[in-house]
Symmetry: C2
Subunit: 394 residues, 2 copies
């Protein structure tokens, strides 16, 4: 129950946002189609669109024949109106990518990092930013914002606690802002990958969904009402540390029986090793080996993993009743590519009939490099929400 006043200005902004969002999300549209979709009057659509065109946010893009009369003029968000930058901060590298508003990659920069201290990361992100700006030839005033994805809990768009990086209350947004004039947004990596899948991948069209990521660790992004759910203090979605075997295996979080300890790649390989399986090479190679093996212990471990993972999904299905679950993460994809049907069937054994019948389980479509893409959508979300108004500064 939100309580916010509305002024006549808010109305204008809101309607600009409605129009701009429709054009952006639902491809080129004519004014006439906009009046239908938004239920605004033709007069208002015309008026608002004219304003957006004057400002350069929207442009005409050919026309399409109508049903016998004057052709409809198609409108799209001008891809080169502004540009956005997305950065992915991993444990071993920083990747920075620059996109136009149609989310075409115009430039990319990767930096390996040795020790992921905040200072190091800030330095590499800023260097990457300079690199992609220079490489793309985009003037920095044309850049709408920099979205940064970090694997940790991000509160208030700014402060990061990341156990894997050893960070505690790092004011990353503020640190980055010291080195650039471009507006900075920071968010959690899993949420950003989820965001990318929801906008451009397997989540398109869904409003209630879960993007489940299974890699070495296990996490998820919850999507409620079309946008990511953050909980009270931004740490919602910690699906990997859900207790699934009470009193079971020790998890690296310290608790017993977490889902991650059973279906995270590390946990799976540990179980395989204990069952007498042969684990060699790096984690990913070993995981592939496990899936390829037709030995008896391998089959058991894989079957068990599917069972545990299905129970984890079922818990999501029961608790949040999503319309779609999108499985991703490198281990999740490897498993899913081979055993998606088994997984679906197994979820049915653990979930309640009704919500199970309403959910579809699908695989991520974008691959694991979409994190920077997701991060780059942060400034775009901002733009759409503001109805295309860009900060007056600079």
């Amino acid at each position: 129950m939100e309580v916010r006043r509305t002024t006549v200005r808010d109305m204008r902004r809101s309607n600009r946002s409605v129009i701009l969002t429709s054009i952006y999300r639902e491809g080129p549209l004519s004014r006439q189609e906009l009046t239908v979709r938004t239920s605004l009057s033709a007069a208002s659509v015309s008026n608002l669109v004219a304003e957006l065109i004057t400002e350069g946010v929207v442009e005409e893009a050919g026309s399409v024949e109508s049903e016998g009369g004057r052709p409809r003029v198609l409108l799209r968000v001008a891809p080169t109106f502004r540009y956005v930058v997305g950065a992915e901060v991993g444990e071993t590298r920083v990747r920075v990518e620059l996109f136009d508003l149609a989310m075409n990659v115009l430039a990319r920069a990767d930096h390996p990092i040795s020790s992921p201290t905040p200072e190091e990361v800030v330095k590499h992100v800023l260097e990457g930013l300079s690199t992609v700006v220079a490489a793309s030839g985009v003037r920095s005033g044309q850049i709408l914002g920099l979205g940064v994805a970090v694997s940790g809990v991000v509160e208030d768009n700014a402060v990061v606690d990341a156990q894997t990086l050893g960070w505690d209350a790092v004011p990353l947004a503020a640190m980055l802002a010291e080195g650039t004039d471009i507006p900075v947004h920071v968010d959690n990596g899993a949420n950003m990958l989820g965001q990318a899948e929801m906008w451009f991948g397997a989540g398109r069209g869904a409003t209630e969904a879960v993007v489940a990521l299974v890699g070495s660790g296990v996490g998820s992004a919850l999507v409620a009402g079309g946008s990511s759910y953050r909980g009270a203090r931004s740490s919602a979605g910690e699906w990997g540390h859900m207790t699934i075997v009470y009193g079971g295996r020790q998890c690296r979080c310290g608790a017993l029986g977490c889902l991650e300890a059973y279906v995270g790649a590390e946990g799976v390989l540990d179980r395989y090793r204990e069952a007498g399986g042969l684990v060699d090479g790096d984690e990913e190679a070993a995981f592939v080996g496990l899936l390829a093996s037709d030995s008896e212990p391998a089959a058991t471990i894989v079957a068990d993993t599917i069972g545990y993972l299905a129970a984890g999904f079922a818990n999501l299905v029961n608790l949040v009743n999503p319309e779609r679950i999108v499985l991703g993460g490198w281990a999740g994809l490897l498993l899913g590519e081979k055993y998606l049907d088994e997984l679906r069937a197994e979820v049915g054994k653990h979930a309640l009939r009704r919500p199970y019948a309403q959910v579809s389980l699908v695989l991520c479509e974008l691959g694991r490099d979409a994190v920077a893409l997701g991060a780059a959508t942060l400034p775009v979300v901002h733009l759409l929400r503001n109805g295309g108004a860009v900060p007056a500064s600079r």
Copy 2:
């Protein structure tokens, strides 16, 4: 990312709603306080309040001295502007209560029911409605709406699937609407109890919360952003059938290892019985007996129950990061009254440090009779959302 146009009429309605909601939820307020809270201009507050007073929704309620100048006139929602009715449909009885807008009970009617067929329930709800209307002397045109709480999944405010009642796709709202002119709202019982706790009980002030109900079965109401989260098709919150012991005890839902099979009163007593405990009397008496017993098996069972329940809470804490968990349900209250501290400590063992530090675990304050109260808030929510505009009909 919602897309809805805004007109100048919406603006008015929205601002009326903001003012009315503030007055309703934050007690008597003066116009001056309203300008501060809503950030509307004094002129608009005055204008809107005048309108609300003319219509009778709001009334002046004394004045309070200001800081040296003209005293502030307090405003409140007129308790007798309209009335609301809440109904609780249980397996063995139907309870109907009539409230004024201040949620004082003016009349109550209970009907035992033998076989909870839809027809029977509809009949008893309508009879209860007549009874409370007659007993209270309220004209039926003054009744804003009838909220009905059913223990089952309620889609679109209307259609009910309830396994415990043996109902499948029962159009309860439509059936009730045939027997009365009063607008009917139907929702899930757990959500309604949660709603009551959020507005008038242990949930006040929280916006991200979970109301966990432990009785013979186990369920919950998820609250996100101040209102109940329903998921894709209204069945969110099925916390009881979360797998918590993979491959564990058989649950009545058919799956293995559900939380309900361990912490639902029925499951607890089954475990007690298997451990050699003495279970007699009805379920509730037996449960009280278990808690009162100082035998060795009883102590073990209770300790285990606390452990399982804590793991269930921890899963909620990790996944949805609530600021508050409110424990209710008759068994939950019995357990909580005696072992709340142990429960809190145990949750810490299963949950991640960060979200655990952000959540508070408290007991329900309203008792189990608050379901009808919660149901009666449905029409009130409607009224507040519409800014006090009542349907013109009748």
